[in-house]
Symmetry: C2
Subunit: 258 residues, 2 copies
């Protein structure tokens, strides 16, 4: 592999399938968890879509994202009930059949006794032809990988366990490091100089995020890069910039994955 190949970070999209987020019943936490993990493993999460458990929506979304990004991750809709239609929709998206997967059925047989293995549970062994299984150490019903799409459960505890397996199946890259400098300046005071700093460091991504904490408007400036040394230099310049405007950075944190 050339140097460029090894250094390029892969990109990804996440699809959250389920009405419970869209109806306002549940606060989504899977996005934040996945975003942190992918960043730590050098995969750039470029898009998240939260969609209904609707076959056409799943097919359209998975096709679109599978063509656009290196990796697609989905969560939700692989259980035994009528609203769990992820597996059949993804089979249709890739024009393959859905079949009773022997390995998946075996896993369910190990987990449940014979009279417990109802038709509803057996449904969870229906997997698109040609997919590789993702083990589920919590409730045994597996996820699966087909092409570049990684299909996981929506329940956070199960999704987290499945992601360990997925990490072995994708090409991780250089972790994306970040430094965050918090200050009391207004965004518009520093905007022009911040733009110049961005121009001077095209390989660093500089973001500016105003926020209210305890009723006081503050500003977090975030620098992101895979190169720790350039990141440090640019962060030092940013701190000088803040001092130039008569302010002192309130907090400076560098995020370096374990």
């Amino acid at each position: 592999m050339s140097d460029q190949d090894t250094r390029r970070n892969k990109d990804a999209a996440l699809v959250i399938i389920g009405m419970e987020i869209l109806s306002g019943r549940t606060q989504d936490t899977n996005t934040h968890w996945m975003a942190e993990r992918l960043t730590d493993h050098g995969v750039i999460l470029k898009e998240v879509r939260i969609i209904q458990d609707d076959k056409d929506a799943i097919i359209r979304t998975v096709r679109d994202l599978s063509d656009s990004y290196d990796y697609v991750f989905t969560t939700g809709g692989i259980g035994p009930t009528h609203d769990d239609i992820t597996a059949e929709s993804i089979a249709e998206a890739f024009k393959v059949k859905l079949e009773r997967n022997r390995e998946a059925y075996g896993l369910l047989e190990e987990h449940y006794s014979i009279d417990e293995l109802t038709p509803a549970r057996a449904k969870m062994a229906m997997i698109p032809v040609g997919a590789e299984l993702i083990p589920n150490p919590v409730t045994s019903a597996p996820g699966f990988i087909i092409k570049n799409v990684h299909v996981m459960a929506g329940v956070p505890r199960i999704m987290h366990a499945m992601f360990d397996h997925v990490l072995g199946a994708i090409e991780v890259g250089q972790p994306i490091l970040s430094s965050t400098v918090t200050c009391g300046l207004q965004e518009s005071q520093i905007a022009e100089d911040l733009g110049k700093l961005q121009d001077a460091y095209p390989d660093i991504e500089i973001g500016s995020y105003p926020h209210y904490r305890g009723g006081v408007l503050g500003l977090s400036l975030v620098l992101r890069s895979t190169d720790a040394s350039i990141l440090k230099t640019a962060t030092d310049e940013l701190v000088e910039l803040i001092r130039k405007f008569g302010d002192e950075p309130k907090a400076l944190t560098m995020r370096m994955p374990n």
Copy 2:
């Protein structure tokens, strides 16, 4: 308007623009807030997309969603810094020019003194031609409405204030009511009968959501409809169903917006 017109609920998509969610730095809360408000006002949130502050991504996403849904709401990227490119991207998406909006500039002039109204701040008065402003009672820099797209700030406190204005600009519908029944059954025990209940009530949307609380697997069953009477009947049947399996509902809540 015919009875059918008045009863149909409008649908919507939400676009969250900003790297801070995708990088894992920030937990998104705008989706949950908007999902609850839209549900209460009878607008069905069908899709959420979280995208980078990248011009092509914004253009592609806004065009796609504007064509597909009655309303589109965006949050983020309307501040004064280099990474705030929402207004120019949306102008390009709809092939209109970006201009210094007199009304927006006037609002900034009222808020800032003359020597405080820097070029960076003046940038926040650049609005696509033909757009209607959304007032910002917190920091004065307005959002805007163009076609069916409602462009709001990303900072939750400002976005919430802007949404009050947006509510006056959209057609709200019958609130979407819901009842949630929590029980100790496993999803697969009740799956078959739940599917039959769904078939018997095609106008009600029935969702099944397993969860871990304190290490114990539980199940929330959620029924959604705009019709309180049908919702009550179906909920009663669901409670009977749970009892049939020897369980007793742990909690039953009906969500009726104020």
